[in-house]
């Protein structure tokens, strides 16, 4: 088989990879903000939930989380009489988001805490509520700080999507494996797959750079 014939199935797989990456990065970012802000909350219950979530998902294997959501959760659900069967896409996106969200939460927390004390004092002197201080003063300054580590996490997430091929999602890694089984042309197929992941990573990096520039457009040297 000519290598160009691999391109169509691999591109189909790449689309699944792209979708998984987008959904889980966006959903993971929301989780990261919720848990990162939650970890700084005054309410001890919210803090405990955030810390519990972060530690559990940082401290366990992504692959096992994925298998747990896809294989174990339905069985556990059956035992208590609830249908908890997840379609592969949902299980994949959920596992990836929960994972990136836990890592991202630490990024969010760190960036919020890096906003200078002077800013909080100015906000207090102007009588901002704690909530408005967070949304109007702290977060707009913290978000640009989060962008480089978020970029790393997004790339990490792109590469981690390959794991979902193990729960029968036909992403790029799955298609590559399928083609290899069929043709035994390992070198060509995996080289193409590597190049495709690398290309996607480059695009993602460029997008994160643009986003970083946009959220930090007020900064010195930004324009």
């Amino acid at each position: 088989m000519d290598w160009t014939q691999y391109l169509t199935p691999l591109t189909l797989g790449a689309w699944v990879t792209i979708e998984l990456t987008i959904y889980s990065t966006v959903f993971g970012a929301l989780l990261a903000f919720a848990a990162g802000i939650g970890k700084l909350a005054h309410n001890p219950l919210i803090r405990a939930i955030s810390i519990g979530y972060i530690e559990i998902f940082r401290g366990t294997s992504l692959l096992v989380q994925l298998f747990w959501l896809y294989f174990a959760l339905p069985v556990a659900g059956q035992a208590i009489g609830i249908d908890l069967r997840l379609p592969p896409v949902a299980a994949g996106v959920l596992a990836l988001s929960l994972n990136i969200g836990a890592y991202g939460a630490e990024v969010v927390r760190g960036a919020i805490q890096s906003v200078s004390k002077d800013q909080y004092e100015a906000a207090r002197a102007l009588n901002f509520t704690p909530r408005k201080t967070l949304w109007r003063v702290a977060l707009p300054q913290a978000i640009p700080e989060m962008m480089p580590p978020f970029g790393n996490l997004a790339i990490q997430n792109l590469k981690d999507t390959a794991l979902v091929s193990l729960i029968s999602l036909s992403d790029l890694a799955f298609r590559a494996e399928q083609l290899r089984n069929f043709t035994q042309d390992s070198t060509t197929i995996y080289t193409l797959a590597l190049l495709m992941y690398f290309g996607l990573a480059l695009v993602l990096t460029a997008m994160m750079k643009l986003l970083e520039r946009f959220v930090g457009r007020w900064r010195a040297g930004a324009r």
Binding site: D118, Q119, E121, A122, R124, A125, L126, N127, F128, T129, K132, R136, V137, P140, Q141, W218, R219, A220
Partner: protein, 259 residues
């Protein structure tokens, strides 16, 4: 200027760990009065302002602002209990502060810096806040800089924005915490001019912690010399600067005026 004190410190104690910064401080400011606080660093000058702005709490005594305890509330039985955040929020509306390091919001334009709190905290419409903001920028001589970001301004300009931002909340009392100490010498004048103009034209009560002795002498009704957490000496500027009673004041003035 009326005789009723708008600010009153009654045996106020403030400690940072083992260090006693304010040692049973008694201190009063009358409504409309312009008071300068001078003294060596570490003498508790800035702490007085930070306590008033509710950035630092107190360890003893009572602070009264506008006749009401600042760090306390009256319980139903008449006793004083530590203030709730609600009480502090209400009390804070009377005060404004200008910081040594300006503390402008770097992600907001100059105009937004001034309008944000009036809109978010006082509930002004964007239009009202903008109008007030533009008037204040006019007052501090920065009408043409409204759309710039703080980092595009000089230190002196940033501090003038800081003054406008504090004024936008319409405080009765304005606190200046070494407002020119972070500035290059050639930029000090423009900030002092604005403060001087405010002192002359407004019935604001002003409390100024400063190392600018000449300026303190020009604008203040009264100068307080702080030393070791207490007022060592206070009086009209011409008396205190030309003929201090205390040896410690004399030493301090000699040291700073020789520089």
């Amino acid at each position: 200027m009326s005789d009723e004190p708008i600010i009153k410190f009654d045996k106020v104690v403030k400690r940072f760990g083992d260090l006693t910064v304010l040692n049973e401080l008694d201190f009063e400011v009358k409504k409309g009065e312009k008071v300068s606080i001078i003294g060596p660093s570490g003498s508790g000058k800035s702490t007085v302002l930070r306590i008033l702005m509710t950035l630092e709490d107190i360890n003893g005594g009572v602070v009264t602002v506008g006749g009401e305890p600042l760090w306390h509330e009256k319980a139903p039985d008449g006793s004083l209990v530590p203030a709730s955040e609600t009480h502090l929020r209400k009390m804070r509306t009377q005060l404004g502060m200008v910081f040594q390091q300006f503390n402008l919001f770097p992600h907001m334009t100059v105009l937004r810096n001034i309008t944000e709190a009036p809109v978010q905290v006082l509930g002004l419409t964007k239009q009202e806040a903008k109008q007030r903001g533009e008037e204040l920028l006019e007052l501090v001589g920065l009408a043409d800089q409204a759309q710039k970001y703080p980092h595009q301004l000089s230190g002196g300009q940033q501090q003038r924005v800081g003054i406008a931002r504090a004024l936008a909340m319409r405080p009765n009392i304005l606190l200046f915490d070494e407002p020119t100490s972070a500035l290059d010498p050639e930029l000090v004048g423009e900030v002092l001019n604005v403060i001087g103009k405010l002192a002359e034209e407004h019935d604001l009560t002003m409390l100024l912690v400063t190392h600018e002795m000449r300026f303190a002498r020009e604008v203040s009704d009264r100068v307080c010399f702080f030393d070791q957490g207490r007022i060592r000496e206070e009086g009209a500027p011409e008396d205190l600067f030309t003929d201090p009673n205390e040896e410690r004041t004399r030493e301090f003035l000699q040291a700073v005026l020789d520089n």
